[in-house]
């Protein structure tokens, strides 16, 4: 087991390093640089541009810049963000918890709702409820995330303005509210983005869960359980569900990177300044250190998520052995 873990970690480090290097090189190959973006206005001399490039080390050869970045990253210093005018570590430290809160809540709700819907469908497989739920799930599965987000925004923030249009909190009033009012304000701002993400993700999970359950209920031991007098509902919930959870656990592991990467379109529509949005905006601003730092964090989460999923599957299913 230890050997397996050491091998996977080593493999993961290699993957992360490769992704970071590729990101760094590809980004530098794109035309323009952060100075072009921030100083594109009258009166800026080439000397000023050169001074800014020197100040940020952008006048050094690409190889040297990369080695400096790697050396800094190894010490935990991911560099200075040109677009945020702050250390990259600070920007990520601020954006990561926001994304984790949004996607974490959405994932928890999605798995709860998705598994429950899958079970409800299988309890009456082929029946009216199963068909009706299947259609709704298919619709949600097919809807583009940005469309659903925009629809929710238009409906509940503009047409029937009962929820805020976006952001983490009220930009003016939050600071002047009591702690309990602040909590309510924060929750109100979470409702639309979390609901949108939950609806989208739970549709996928429910479809997986239904398929896995349908496979399991066809097995001999389920027939035995029913023959022993267990009701259909009890047999599904007590025996079939546990055995049918393996694909869902894999899906959960693979969803972990979303905690770091964010849900770009939902973050964009609801002005949620999380990791996805920060990284994409940084690409537009040619903010090399922030993009590379963001990609580094996201790729670590992808590798860790895949490893975690394998470990949990091994724990949940004694037939699986890790070598």
């Amino acid at each position: 087991m230890r050997r397996y873990l050491a091998g996977r970690v080593l493999q993961g480090v290699g993957v992360v390093l490769m992704i970071a290097t590729l990101t760094y090189v590809l980004l530098h190959l794109a035309p323009g640089d952060p100075i072009t973006m921030s100083l594109d206005r009258p009166g800026v001399t080439e000397a000023t541009r050169a001074e800014w490039r020197r100040a940020y080390g952008l006048d050094r050869p690409l190889g040297e810049q990369y080695l400096r970045w790697v050396a800094g990253a190894a010490r935990g210093d991911l560099g200075y963000s040109y677009s945020h005018h702050r250390p990259v570590g600070d920007v990520i430290a601020e954006a990561l918890p926001r994304t984790a809160l949004l996607t974490g809540l959405a994932l928890l709700l999605s798995f709860g709702v998705g598994i429950a819907v899958g079970v409800l469908q299988v309890e009456r497989a082929g029946g009216h409820r199963d068909r009706w739920m299947g259609r709704v799930l298919l619709l949600l599965y097919s809807v583009p995330d940005f469309w659903l987000a925009l629809l929710a925004l238009l409906l509940f923030a503009y047409r029937i303005p009962v929820l805020p249009a976006g952001g983490l909190v009220d930009p003016v009033m939050y600071e002047y509210l009591t702690p309990s009012q602040q909590l309510v304000d924060r929750l109100r701002h979470l409702v639309l983005p979390v609901t949108t993400l939950t609806l989208l993700t739970s549709a996928v999970i429910a479809r997986y869960q239904r398929s896995a359950l349908l496979e399991v209920i066809a097995t001999d031991w389920m027939r035995t359980a029913l023959a022993k007098g267990l009701s259909w509902r009890k047999a599904v919930r007590r025996h079939a569900l546990r055995n049918a959870l393996l694909p869902t656990i894999t899906l959960a592991g693979l969803s972990l990177p979303a905690l770091a990467a964010g849900a770009l379109f939902v973050e964009k529509v609801f002005s949620w300044p999380g990791m996805g949005l920060v990284t994409v905006n940084a690409i537009g601003a040619r903010d090399y250190p922030l993009v590379t730092g963001g990609v580094l964090v996201i790729s670590v989460m992808v590798v860790a998520g895949a490893l975690l999923a394998d470990l949990v599957i091994a724990l949940a299913d004694p037939r699986v052995r890790l070598r």
Partner: protein, 566 residues
């Protein structure tokens, strides 16, 4: 699907009426009654899609940087609404109560207002003015302003409230250069930080100035909160608070405005205006600007900039292509009734602008004849050919600009009709900027925001502006134009400045290094309860300290008062 003219008229009529109504206001947004004592207070939230990068005016890079620092920091004197940059005509005292010119005009003595204070309570002193000039001019600071103040030699201190600015040459804009370009910054806070480290230091984020607003809080990526400096020597602003609410992108920013989370949104898109015309809570606000957009022909070969461009090096070809463009029809197509034709290589709000200059006519028959006589004859595929070279070229546009993308398609079609093949090259803004700066394009749609001075205009069309860092992207060079622009910047007679500038504009337009397409109408949205005064073309926010919200129109956020931010 074709939309009938009547439908289009019906759809846009309310917007057009609103815009035309506002156009009549000419700078003043609203004939509002003046604010009474009870009308002091209120909060205005501005929805924006960008965050500021600094709170130190010497380091500004973006429009929002300038906007916020303009509100936080005062200058020695402020320019008039007419933006006259010659002499000290129209300038209003700010930190300087009064000033005197020396007999040879090579120095100006400024007497500072003894009541002026920094937001931390320390008095503003003559040494702050000297320090500010030194900081701007220090190459290690890397200030974008430094190239604009080269004529200022130094500042000496006569006493703690009297400074003397010394100039290398007597020029019409020497006063403007000093007072408009140099914001006065606090020496006691900045002197201990090496200029090269200011960009990354915390002191550049504190925003302690002497303006009528002071910085209460800057939560990066979320909001910037300015509050009234109630003890300000120029009087407190009428609003209690201005909050910049930062959204991650333009669409979210607009949505927040329409959802009522903000009171003001600058530069709305045309598709938002129809919605605004029906809105009973918000209204359209037109504000002047110094921007214009044009199709630039690159006069040098992108592959080797020391050679003329194989197509656009020929003046006749440029003129022919210009005559193939129906600018008016294109303007209507892209902006409907909400656009304004460009009058030439200058923004129409520039004090020296002349909106009566003749432009090349739209005449496709004449354009074809000009191309024929220049040796470009029709070849295979209905594309003209000369010496084996097809009349084919690229048209570069940034994909972030919807109007420029729309124009590129229309221009492609217009050029096709006279036998020129255009390949549209859309790219993200950094790529576009890099290509532009390297003169690496055939043609491009450039949008240029000028400053109010003629010297600013020189950077775009003089030979000097071709150097790296200049804004003469088409590489246009005409010694006669250079001489005229030089004359325009050295005469003290404003009427002669206009005459020289007019002749320079005429010559540029005859040489056709570009086609002057449009001036964007800057149309924002504002909550009806906010009262706005005179607006300046170099920045609508210049008068924001005098905007107000009537006491009987206040909402919950207006009633917070001046409680300190927790």
């Amino acid at each position: 699907m074709r939309i009938s003219l009547q439908t289009r008229v019906r759809r846009w009529a309310p917007v057009a009426i609103a815009v035309l109504g506002l156009a009549g206001c000419k700078g003043t947004e609203q004939a509002a009654t003046t604010a009474g004592p009870a009308d002091i207070g209120g909060t205005m939230v501005i929805s924006t899609a960008t965050d500021a990068g600094t709170m130190l005016p010497v380091l500004i890079g973006s429009n929002l940087d300038r906007q916020v620092t303009d509100l936080l920091y005062d200058r020695l004197a402020d320019i008039s609404t007419e933006l006259v940059t010659v002499g000290d005509r129209g300038f209003k005292p700010q930190l300087a109560q009064r000033w005197e010119w020396s007999r040879d005009s090579l120095s100006i003595t400024f007497h500072l207002n003894p009541a002026a204070r920094w937001h931390d309570g320390r008095p503003v002193r003559a040494s702050d003015v000297r320090f500010s000039l030194g900081l701007v001019k220090n190459p290690a600071t890397g200030s974008a302003i430094s190239s604009l103040v080269t004529n200022i030699d130094s500042v000496s201190i006569r006493d703690s409230l009297t400074v003397v600015a010394w100039f290398k040459m007597r020029t019409p804009e020497q006063f403007y250069e000093l007072v408009y370009q140099i914001p006065v910054m606090p020496e006691h806070l900045l002197a201990n930080t090496p200029p090269g480290e200011l960009k990354t230091s915390d002191v550049s984020r504190r925003g302690i100035g002497s303006g009528r607003f002071r910085l209460a809080k800057w939560a990066p990526g979320q909001r910037i909160e300015l509050v009234a400096d109630t003890a300000n020597y120029r009087g407190r602003p009428k609003l209690d608070r201005v909050v910049y609410s930062i959204s991650p992108d333009a669409a979210s920013s607009v949505t927040r405005f329409f959802a009522g989370d903000a009171d003001f949104h600058e530069q709305l898109r045309t598709d938002n205006l129809a919605q605004l015309a029906k809105d009973t809570v918000r209204r359209l606000m037109r504000y002047p600007n110094l921007q214009h957009a044009y199709l630039a022909f690159n006069l040098v070969d992108p592959a080797n900039t020391s050679r003329p461009h194989p197509i656009f090096g020929d003046r006749a070809v440029r003129r022919a292509l210009s005559m193939a463009i129906d600018r008016r029809a294109m303007l209507r197509n892209v902006f409907d009734t909400l656009g304004q034709l460009s009058y030439g290589p200058f923004p129409s709000k520039l004090p020296v602008a002349d909106t009566t200059l003749p432009q090349l006519p739209y005449d496709t028959a004449a354009a074809r004849m000009l191309l024929d006589s220049a040796g470009w004859v029709m070849g295979p595929g209905a594309v003209r050919v000369k010496d084996g070279r097809r009349l084919e070229f690229g048209l570069t546009v940034p994909n972030s600009s919807a109007p420029r993308k729309a124009y590129s398609v229309l221009l492609q079609e217009a050029f096709r009709r006279i036998g020129a093949s255009v390949k549209i090259e859309e790219m993200d803004f950094p790529s576009f900027s890099a290509k532009q700066a390297a003169h690496g394009f055939d043609t491009e749609i450039a949008a240029y925001g000028s400053d109010p001075s003629v010297s600013g205009f020189k950077q775009a069309w003089s030979t000097e502006g071709m150097k790296p860092g200049g804004f003469n992207f088409p590489s246009y060079s005409n010694p006669a134009v250079d001489a005229l622009l030089d004359s325009a910047t050295v005469t003290f007679d404003f009427a002669r400045t206009r005459t020289y500038a007019r002749r320079a504009f005429e010559m540029i337009m005859e040489d056709a290094p570009g086609v002057w397409l449009y001036e964007p109408l800057t149309l924002g949205g504002i909550d009806r309860r906010v009262r706005v005064g005179d607006l300046r073309a170099d920045g609508y926010w210049a008068t924001m300290a005098d905007w107000w919200i009537p006491a009987d129109k206040r909402s919950a956020r207006d009633r917070i008062g001046l409680r300190p931010t927790p």
